[in-house]
C-alpha cells in the first residue's frame, strides 16, 4: 500500500525540487538532443536504404534491352513467347521514343533533351508473378540473353546486392553511433546528476534525516534522468523531422525518378523506440550516478 502511494507521489516529489533547476534541465536536454540527432539521422538513412533495397529486390520485374537491329516481327514473337512463359504476368514493349519520353520529363535539362530517341534503347519491361523464385528468374534471364534480338537483361540483382552492402554499412555505422550516443547520454546525465546532487544536497540531507529510504530519495532523480533522456530523444526526432520536411520537397522528385520511391521519415515505432531508449538510458544513468556519487 505504502509503495503504491510512493509511486503516485513520486512525480510530485520529482517536480518540487525540479522547479528551480529548469535551466540545468534545458541544457542537458539540448546536449542529449544533439547526440540523439546523430543516431536518428543514421537510422533515417538506414530506413530509406532498406526501403530502396526492398523496392528493388521485390520489384518483381526485369528489363530486356533489345538490339538496335531487332526487327518488329522478332519483337512481336518474343513478346508473345514471353506472355506464355510461366511466372511472367506482364510484358510491355517500350520503344526508343517512349523510353526517351519517360526519361526526358523536364525539357529544362538541355543536355538530356538534346539526346535523340536512338540514344534510348528499346526494351521489354517484364512483370513477374509474386511466387517466382530467384532460380527461375535467373533461368529466364539466361535464355533471353541467348536470343539474337536481345542486347542484355537487367534483373536489378546487382542493384539489390549493392544496396544490401550499403545497408550493411549503414547498420554498422548506426550501431557505432548508438554506442557513441549511449556514452554521450551517460556523460551528460552523469554531469547533470552531479550538478543536481550538489544543488540539492540539503534536500537529500533533509529527506534522509526524516527517514526517507534510499529508493524514495533516488526516485525523483531517476524520473528526472528518464525525462531528460526521453525529452532529448523526442527533441532530436522533432528537429530531424523538421529538417526532413524542409529538405524533402527539393529532392523528392529526383529520388522518385532515380530509385522509384519517395524518401520516408522514421517509422513511428522506431521514433517511439528512440524515445523509450532515451528514457531508459536516462533512468539507468541517473541510478548508476546516484549510487556512485552519493551512495543512495
Amino acid at each position: 500500500m505504502t509503495s503504491e502511494r510512493y509511486g503516485v507521489r513520486a512525480p510530485m516529489r520529482a517536480w518540487r525540487p525540479g522547479r528551480g533547476d529548469m535551466r540545468v534541465h534545458v541544457q542537458s536536454i539540448f546536449s542529449l538532443a544533439v547526440a540523439f540527432v546523430c543516431l536518428a539521422a543514421s537510422l533515417l538513412v538506414v530506413t530509406n536504404l532498406s526501403a530502396v533495397r526492398d523496392r528493388w529486390s521485390h520489384a518483381g520485374r526485369a528489363t530486356v534491352y533489345l538490339r538496335d537491329g531487332a526487327g518488329d516481327q522478332e519483337v512481336v514473337d518474343l513478346v508473345r513467347a514471353l506472355e506464355q512463359t510461366q511466372g511472367i504476368k506482364r510484358v510491355r514493349h517500350v520503344t526508343s521514343v517512349e523510353a526517351r519520353r519517360e526519361v526526358v520529363t523536364d525539357e529544362s535539362d538541355a543536355a538530356l533533351a538534346s539526346l535523340p530517341p536512338s540514344a534510348f534503347p528499346a526494351s521489354l519491361e517484364l512483370g513477374f508473378t509474386d511466387d517466382i523464385g530467384d532460380g527461375d528468374l535467373q533461368s529466364i534471364a539466361l535464355k533471353l540473353r541467348a536470343l539474337p534480338a536481345v542486347e542484355t537483361v537487367e534483373t536489378y540483382q546487382r542493384w539489390t546486392e549493392r544496396l544490401s552492402s550499403l545497408l550493411g554499412g549503414g547498420v554498422t555505422a548506426s550501431a557505432a553511433l548508438a554506442v557513441v550516443v549511449m556514452c554521450a547520454v551517460f556523460s551528460v546525465i552523469s554531469s547533470t546528476m552531479r550538478l543536481l546532487l550538489s544543488r540539492r544536497s540539503i534536500e537529500v540531507e533533509v529527506l534522509k534525516l526524516v527517514g526517507a529510504t534510499n529508493a524514495f530519495v533516488r526516485r525523483p532523480f531517476v524520473i528526472e534522468g528518464a525525462m531528460q533522456g526521453a525529452a532529448g530523444a523526442g527533441g532530436a526526432i522533432a528537429l530531424l523531422g523538421a529538417l526532413f520536411l524542409l529538405v524533402r520537397g527539393r529532392f523528392d522528385h529526383e529520388l522518385a525518378n532515380l530509385l522509384g520511391l519517395t524518401p520516408s521519415f522514421l517509422p513511428w515505432t522506431v521514433s517511439l523506440g528512440l524515445v523509450l531508449l532515451g528514457g531508459a538510458l536516462g533512468a539507468t544513468t541517473a541510478l548508476v550516478s546516484l549510487r556512485k556519487m552519493a551512495a543512495i
Binding site: M1, R5, L207, K208, G211, A212
Partner: protein, 237 residues
C-alpha cells in the same frame, strides 16, 4: 540506554570512552559538556547518522548499533531531530518543509495537510505554511524545524544546540516549546552548552566529559563543574 559505548573519529582521539547511560521513556534530559565532549556525537549515534565502534544503544527494545542499513529509515521516523542550523530547505515553503516528514511514510495528502497545520499551530506558526522558509527569521526557522520534528509524533526528540543561533529571549521561547512537546509524552534529549538554559528549571542533566557521562538528576544548581575555558566563559556569562 547506552551500554559501554565507544566512539572515535580518529584512533588517537576517542570521543566516547565506555559511556553508559539510562534514559527512561518520557524524560527530558539536558546533555551538556564542553565543545568536543561528544554531545552531538551521542545524538548522531542514536539517530544512526554515525555508528558506534563498540557497545550497545537500546531504543524501543532494539539495539540501534546492530540495525541493518534498510532498517535505519524506520528508526529515524521514530525520532525528531532539531539542529542549531535548522536544516530546512530554503527554497521550499514552510508547509513543504514540515510535510516532508510525513510524505516519506506515504500518508495521504489530506492527513498530511491536517497534521502539518496542527504542528505549525503548536509552534506558533499557524497560517504561515505558504511562506518560503528562507524568508523567515532565525527563530521562526527553528520553529519550522521543531514542527517538522514533531509532526510525525516520534517517541524521541533530539535537539542539538537548537538555541545556538538565537538570542537569549528566543532561546528561552524555543526551550519552552520543547518543554511543551515533552508534556505530550515525548522523550527529549536536549544538547546544549548554554548554562542559562539549564538553570531555567531543575531537570536531569548529563554532563559529558573525558568520554564519560556524569548524571546530575536534579540539575546543576550551584554544583561546581570541571569544564574547559569555552564552557567556563558561558558559566561566567
Amino acid at each position: 540506554m547506552f551500554e559501554d559505548v565507544h566512539k572515535a573519529y580518529r584512533q588517537d582521539q576517542p570521543v566516547l570512552r565506555g559511556m553508559s547511560l539510562v534514559i527512561e521513556r518520557g524524560e527530558f534530559v539536558f546533555i551538556t559538556g564542553s565543545s568536543g565532549s561528544g554531545k552531538s556525537t551521542l545524538l548522531r549515534l542514536v539517530h544512526r547518522t554515525d555508528q558506534v565502534d563498540d557497545g550497545r544503544i537500546l531504543f524501543l527494545g532494539r539495539d540501534i548499533s546492530r540495525l541493518r542499513e534498510e532498517s535505519i529509515p524506520a528508526l529515524r521516523r521514530n525520532i525528531g531531530y532539531v539542529f542549531q542550523d535548522f536544516k530546512l530547505v530554503p527554497s521550499w515553503t514552510v508547509f513543504d518543509n514540515v510535510a516532508v516528514a510525513l510524505e516519506v511514510v506515504g500518508l495521504p495528502p489530506r492527513l498530511v495537510r491536517s497534521r502539518v497545520a496542527e504542528s505549525l499551530e503548536r509552534v506558533g506558526l499557524a497560517g504561515r505554511g505558504d511562506e518560503l522558509a528562507k524568508r523567515l527569521s532565525g527563530g521562526e526557522q527553528q520553529r519550522v524545524a521543531i514542527a517538522r520534528a514533531i509532526v510525525g509524533e516520534p517517541a524521541l526528540i533530539l535537539a542539538d544546540e537548537p538555541t545556538g543561533n538565537l538570542d537569549p529571549q528566543l532561546a528561552f521561547d524555543i526551550l519552552g516549546l520543547f518543554e511543551d512537546i515533552h508534556e505530550t509524552g515525548a522523550t527529549v534529549l536536549f544538547a546544549t552548552h548554554d548554562r542559562t538554559l539549564l538553570d531555567v528549571r531543575p531537570r536531569r542533566v548529563v554532563v559529558l566529559d573525558e568520554g564519560k557521562a556524569t548524571d546530575v538528576p536534579h540539575g546543576l544548581g550551584d554544583e561546581p563543574m570541571d569544564l574547559d575555558a569555552d564552557m567556563a566563559l558561558n558559566l561566567v556569562a
